[in-house]
């Protein structure tokens, strides 16, 4: 059987759990206007943790935009991820106050400890390491953020202990 491979007629994939639900919820919530592009990408990522290719293509179709425009926007902003993420997202603040208080060393420690570079996910799928330009909690520098929990005045050993804690709790759960 011949399969049409051009982007616009590629069949919608349902291989990712939840993708079709997210897309249908989006069609109800948004109107498909061009100025809704960023909010739509944000809504999809909030649900899925990242933006799979088929979601980008569906959003392009829904908003009547080229896939290039949607891809260009999704890769322009640091908030959007095109790859799946781990269970916990560990963000190391790289703001000026954190830098002056040694966050570059802490980032190095965490990188060595988890054996991943920023933007990567650990092999066990538990942690994704990211950096963020500034969290705006500079008075408590250095800062790390695990999912939504902000930790201030984090010394280097405290940061590693925090990650080890999460890992051992996860192991217990299994």
């Amino acid at each position: 059987m011949h399969t049409e491979l051009t982007i616009n007629s590629r069949p919608t994939c349902h291989d990712l759990p939840g993708t079709s639900m997210v897309l249908s919820a989006m069609r109800k919530r948004f109107h498909g206007r061009g100025d809704e592009l960023i909010p739509m990408l944000q809504a999809a990522q909030r649900e899925l943790g990242f933006l799979p290719e088929q979601v980008l293509l569906e959003i392009a179709r829904f908003a009547g935009l080229t896939s290039a425009k949607v891809y260009g926007t999704a890769t322009f902003y640091s908030q959007f991820r095109l790859k799946p993420v781990g269970k916990y997202i560990v963000r190391v603040c790289r703001g000026t106050a954190c830098h002056v208080k040694g966050s570059y060393r802490m980032l190095g420690d965490i990188r060595d400890h988890l054996k991943v570079a920023p933007g990567e996910t650990t092999q066990d799928g538990l942690f994704t390491l990211e950096t963020v330009a500034c969290f705006g909690s500079c008075a408590l520098a250095p800062i790390i953020v695990v999912d939504d929990a902000v930790y201030g005045n984090v010394g280097r050993s405290k940061a590693l202990a925090l990650l080890d804690d999460i890992r051992s709790q996860e192991k217990k759960r299994v």
Partner: protein, 616 residues
């Protein structure tokens, strides 16, 4: 809802808080407070009240600006002042409340100040604290005092009085008032706000927009976040006044997605405004109709630039475009658009409430009013402060901030983020205003103020900023796209020990090209961190290049650690903590570092209480 009735009720309820028959407890619940553990303090306080079977009123307030003392709780017993306690834990909270409410013991030794008419022996007053005394709080007037999620608190403190006054004036008179106040844009560039409004008001066009720029992107700055978290209505009222003066029907708040709490508080505030007839049609019975939408940014520093911000609101990549045409003539979707920063709007509502002359009585001849700063880095008292323009830099660092932390020596103060520069310690007499900072090679910027001590390398700092701007450059124009990377490459070489004699000249040359040739402020100002450090700390560049030394102990290729045999007590703290077992020595005898093994992680230096680990 009738606004006048609501206002009367709000004032009654607010005044009643002063005369409660039971305790009133404030917990600072800004992002900083929460990061320090305010949720636990709040829960502990509530539990203690329940356990003691006491009636009590608890309020979640914003940030009072003394971040170094977070989490903070204030307790007011009937008839007494608020007593403030800092650096709390759940346990300490319980002890304080048990003693204070049960035995009438205010635990003076744990309190850091009182607020209110009455005072308590042995506890200083809030307004007399060295951190607070030099401050004048206009934009931050309600932060940490009111519940930001209760519009009636804001109203009771004079909120929306500025809007009411504006609606009784002609549009032109409102603009005149702002012009007379001398208010300049608090986002950093310092353009006179009244003139900006006037050109948007005069621009032909039926549809006009107001945008509040809350895309606080400068690393090291958090004034706008604290303000939106602590007093969102002050900003929203300013937007309404601008909408009336310029003739706009629609407004947007463009805010960073990294500020979820500020977004939540804004959403709540907008909901309450709708209930009280402060958005929608015929606001407060006038002809003003205005709607406000929140637009979440998605993490792009360049979107703080106004044309890029508008491109982002319209959907798509936030890239700047050449000006003119200015947004006042051709902005969002081609319509006249007035863009102001969060703090500017918070000042607008205060100016309309209290008058231009009052506002202009603060500050210097050309920089009127006050400016908020986020004081961070290696300073004793970190926090969010607001000072009259023109205050001596040294008075901010030493007086308000309490000087450099851990007894170290001040090296520089960084203002203006990646667009600003490093002001050396010997310029502490500099008055902090737009013009003086620009003359020193830095900028006022949005208000980030990061204190740097002798352990900060002044070649690493510009490298840090250039890594940031190179990463955030949108790529549209060549000088910024390539120039920032060129400068970064040279700085990386110098920091890695590969510096060449001609590198300093190369940096100056590229800096000039990037400054003159870039399309927007991000590129044009990106060389400032390099230029100011070259101007004031050239000897550090030269030591890196010619002597192969980083005396601050930051650039790993250019220093090593040594243990000073005379000061080392042989306590073993360093050898126990060294992750690579590079420190050895017998107990109570001077230790030594095996340089082959040492990874220069600095753990031993942090661990040594006797400052025996030296940077060589």
């Amino acid at each position: 809802m009738d606004f006048r009735q609501a206002l009367a009720r709000a004032e009654d309820n607010w005044n009643a808080l002063d005369h409660l028959a039971y305790p009133l407890i404030h917990v600072g619940m800004g992002t900083c407070g929460k990061a320090a553990g305010a949720d636990g303090v709040y829960a502990a306080a509530k539990e203690t009240l329940d356990r003691m079977k006491l009636e009590g009123r608890m309020l979640k307030v914003g940030c009072i600006g003394m971040c170094y003392l977070e989490p903070i709780m204030a307790v007011k017993c009937p008839g007494g002042p608020f007593i403030y306690y800092g650096n709390l834990t759940a346990e300490k909270t319980e002890k304080i409340l048990t003693a204070g409410l049960g035995e009438g013991d205010p635990k003076s030794e744990w309190a850091f100040c009182t607020m209110g008419e009455k005072s308590i022996d042995g506890i200083g007053r809030f307004e007399d604290l060295p951190m607070i005394k030099p401050q004048v709080r206009i934009a931050l007037r309600n932060c940490g005092i009111i519940d930001p999620e209760d519009i009636e608190h804001y109203m009771a403190r004079g909120g929306y009085g500025g809007l009411q006054r504006a609606l009784g004036m002609s549009r032109g008179d409102v603009i005149e008032e702002i012009k007379n106040s001398g208010l300049r844009g608090r986002g950093g560039a310092g353009f006179p706000t009244g003139l900006k409004w006037e050109s948007a008001a005069k621009a032909p066009g039926k549809t006009k927009y107001i945008v509040c720029n809350a895309d606080e992107g400068d690393p090291g700055a958090f004034m706008d976040r604290s303000l939106l978290e602590g007093d969102p209505h002050a900003v929203l009222e300013g937007m309404l006044i601008a909408a009336y003066a310029i003739g706009c029907t629609e407004g947007f708040i463009y805010i960073r997605a990294e500020y979820p709490l500020a977004i939540k508080r804004l959403e709540k505030a907008l909901g309450q405004m709708a209930e009280y007839g402060l958005v929608g049609r015929r606001i407060l019975g006038s002809r003003l109709g205005f709607q406000i939408q929140i637009k979440e940014g998605a993490g792009a520093f360049v979107c703080g630039e106004e044309t890029a911000l508008m491109a982002s609101i319209a959907g798509g990549r936030g890239m700047p475009r050449p000006r003119p045409p200015y947004p006042a003539n051709k902005g969002l979707w081609g319509n006249p658009t007035n863009i102001n920063n969060v703090e500017t709007f918070a000042n607008v509502s205060a100016i309309l409430a209290q008058g231009a002359a009052w506002f202009a009585s603060f500050g210097t001849e050309k920089s009127k009013g006050t400016k908020t700063f986020s004081l961070a880095g290696k300073v004793q008292r970190t926090g969010l402060i607001e000072v009259p323009m023109g205050m001596r830099l040294g008075d901010i660092i030493d007086g308000i901030g309490g000087g450099v932390a851990e007894g170290k020596k001040l090296k520089a103060v960084q203002t203006g983020g990646p667009s600003g520069g490093c002001i050396p310690a010997d310029l502490l007499d500099l008055p902090v205003d737009y013009d003086a900072l620009a003359k020193a090679g830095s900028i006022m910027g949005s208000g980030g103020m990061v204190v740097m001590d002798e352990d900060t390398c002044m070649v690493d700092i510009p490298r840090y900023f250039l890594a940031f701007t190179a990463d955030e450059s949108c790529g549209k124009c060549m000088p910024c796209r390539l120039g920032t990377h060129q400068m970064l490459d040279v700085l990386n070489d110098i920091c890695d020990g590969n510096g060449k004699a001609q590198d300093i000249d190369a940096l100056e040359l590229v800096s000039e090209a990037v400054n003159k040739g870039s399309l927007c402020g991000l590129g044009q100002t990106s060389p400032n961190p390099v230029l100011t450090t070259l101007r004031y700390f050239r000897q550090e560049y030269e030591a890196h290049i010619h002597e192969g030394k980083c005396r601050a102990g930051v650039c790993k290729a250019l220093f090593h650690y040594e243990i000073d045999g005379e000061t080392c007590t042989g306590c073993g703290a360093c050898s126990r903590k060294c992750p690579v077992q590079a420190v050895t020595g017998e107990k109570k005898k001077p230790h030594a570092i095996d340089l082959e093994r040492c990874t220069k992680c600095g753990t031993c230096r942090d661990a040594c209480k006797f400052h025996a680990v030296l940077v060589c």
